[in-house]
């Protein structure tokens, strides 16, 4: 409250349902174009992603105008130039996301022979990419970029919530500036996480093909468990590194518990 800012606010629902909607709309449009009009795959996927991007643009506009107008007590101004400058960018990103998810889903159904229909696979990967983005890349945005004025190396004090950085290197900060910053770390690691999920979950059954016998199928499970063990150990190393790096925040006292 009383912090007028120029950062685009388009929270509609959660990220996973929003991405799932995009991917499912794109997947449904693409499979209709492929089956009913027998269009080429690339064209169908591109048109499907275009329709999804258009729908995302509609939601972005109504979400921004609706939130700012209905929550009048927060006294947030509505900048029409922000709608003009941000919505096409967001539609562009929505297009890229949907296109890539549709390509992954199409390859899974046609090349890897997955039994699920294209639309359903797109829906599931949409939920997954949303869950991953919301839990990895968003942290970089929400915990670091919006609170660059507090000291690096500790969590955000609850008293500082809402006191976001509103001024940029030049002029007032907007949503595109934040995307620029998060594209350096938060964005790429989100892509890394989604890529690792898609790759590793498919890789184990590609190397140890269960159709060649149950024993090889069980080997794929063992390979998956080995990957998980490596992740646990890696996480432990990271935890130890961070504890040494940022150090205890309080003096060591005797704990009675």
């Amino acid at each position: 409250m009383m912090y007028p800012h120029r950062i685009f606010n388009k929270a509609i629902s959660g990220e996973p349902p929003s991405n799932a909607l995009l991917a499912a709309v794109g997947g449904a449009s693409a499979s209709v174009l492929m089956s009913a009009y027998s269009m080429s795959v690339v064209f169908a996927i591109a048109v499907g992603a275009l329709i999804a991007a258009g729908i995302h643009g509609t939601y972005c506009t109504t979400a921004y105008l609706g939130r700012s107008a209905s929550q009048k007590r927060f006294r947030q101004p509505i900048y029409l130039d922000m709608v003009r400058s941000h919505v096409p960018v967001m539609m562009g990103f929505a297009y890229i996301t949907t296109f890539c998810i549709l390509v992954v889903s199409y390859l899974m159904t046609s090349v890897l022979g997955h039994p699920f229909p294209l639309t359903l696979l797109a829906f599931i990967w949409g939920i997954t990419v949303g869950a991953i983005g919301s839990s990895t890349g968003d942290v970089h945005y929400g915990a670091e970029r919006e609170f660059q004025n507090v000291e690096f190396g500790s969590g955000l004090n609850a008293a500082n919530s809402g006191n976001i950085v509103r001024k940029a290197e030049c002029g007032l900060r907007n949503g595109i500036d934040n995307s620029w910053f998060c594209a350096k770390f938060g964005g790429p690691v989100t892509g890394l996480a989604f890529g690792m999920t898609v790759f590793l979950s498919g890789w184990i059954t590609t190397i140890f093909d269960p159709s060649m016998g149950a024993n090889i199928g069980w080997l794929s499970i063992v390979a998956g468990l080995a990957i998980i063990l490596i992740l646990i150990l890696w996480n432990r190393r990271l935890e130890v590194f961070a504890r040494n790096q940022y150090g205890p925040y309080k003096e060591d006292e005797e704990v009675t518990a």
């Binding site: 959660g14 990220e15 899974m108 997955h114 039994p115 699920f116 229909p117 359903l120 599931i124 939920i127 997954t128 869950a131 919301s134 839990s135 990895t136 968003d138 942290v139 970089h140 929400g142 915990a143 670091e144 690096f152 500790s154 969590g155 955000l156 004090n157 609850a158 500082n160 919530s161 938060g186 690691v189 890394l192 996480a193 690792m196 999920t197 590793l200 979950s201 059954t205 269960p210 149950a214 199928g217 499970i221 998956g224 468990l225 990957i227 998980i228 992740l231 646990i232 890696w234 996480n235 990271l238 935890e239 504890r243 940022y246 205890p248 925040y249 309080k250 060591d252 006292e253 704990v255």
Partner: protein, 239 residues
């Protein structure tokens, strides 16, 4: 006219298995360390997203791997294991990369505010919680708890899907797979939502005091999934 009693009597085993799968999913969600919006601002331990969304992301990845496995083999144990491993990989990668962001992007050590010592590594936690926060990041105990939660959720989702795919019906194969998968996704979502009332936004894993509330969610889930199972079995068996 569909012979409802006949379809139910012929597939009663699958009704029970679907219910069991749903109960597993709702139990598993309690293991997943989620922190919601506070975690996204490094104010609470856990993954910075909603309960349902993360559980759904992991469980549905498990469903994809289980579906791929069902296409290749008939062994029920192998299908359940494939679902488990798929979900565990998804949640493990997400937590790992989430921790990368916490450590290198935000600059906080993983720490739990609910316990003074990590039950697995015996590391001191309370002095690593920075001022004005309820912990941050994913310490080893939350990580392991999340892996267990993802695994149980994957088994549950795969069990529901396997049971639905075993019902005799007169549909074309592609339609059947689509319908069964959509029912499995639906039952998964229903059971991912129920525990969120117990969790109320944040939970750190099996060491969190809120974890003890799980029987309530399991009883609710038993009733709800049983009704879902009857509807789905009649729908698929009657077509």
């Amino acid at each position: 006219m569909i012979d409802i009693a006949g379809v139910l009597a012929a597939n009663f085993l699958y009704v029970i298995l679907i219910t069991l799968g749903g109960v597993l999913v709702s139990g598993s969600v309690h293991f997943v360390p989620v922190g919601g919006a506070p975690a996204a601002m490094a104010q609470a331990t856990g993954i910075g997203t909603g309960t349902v969304q993360l559980a759904a992301g992991a469980g549905l990845t498990g469903l994809v791997t289980a579906g791929a496995m069902l296409n290749l083999t008939d062994s029920m144990a192998l299908i359940l294991a494939a679902g488990m491993v798929g979900a565990m990989i998804m949640i493990g990668v997400t937590m790992m990369v989430g921790n990368l962001v916490y450590v290198y992007g935000v600059g906080v050590p993983p720490a739990s505010a609910k316990v003074d010592y990590d039950p697995i590594t015996k590391d001191r936690q309370d002095i690593y919680v920075s001022q004005g926060t309820e912990g941050h990041g994913l310490p080893t105990v939350s990580f392991v708890s999340g892996i267990i939660g993802g695994g149980l959720g994957g088994i549950g989702g795969a069990l529901v899907y396997y049971s639905l795919m075993s019902i005799a019906n007169g549909m074309a194969s592609a339609d059947f797979v689509g319908l069964a998968a959509i029912f499995a996704v639906g039952i998964f979502f229903v059971n991912a939502v129920i525990p969120s009332y117990n969790i109320g936004g944040t939970i750190e894993g099996f060491h969190d005091p809120k974890f003890k509330k799980w029987p309530k969610a399991v009883v609710t889930s038993l009733i709800v999934t049983f009704m879902c199972a009857i509807v789905s079995v009649i729908t698929i068996g009657g077509l």
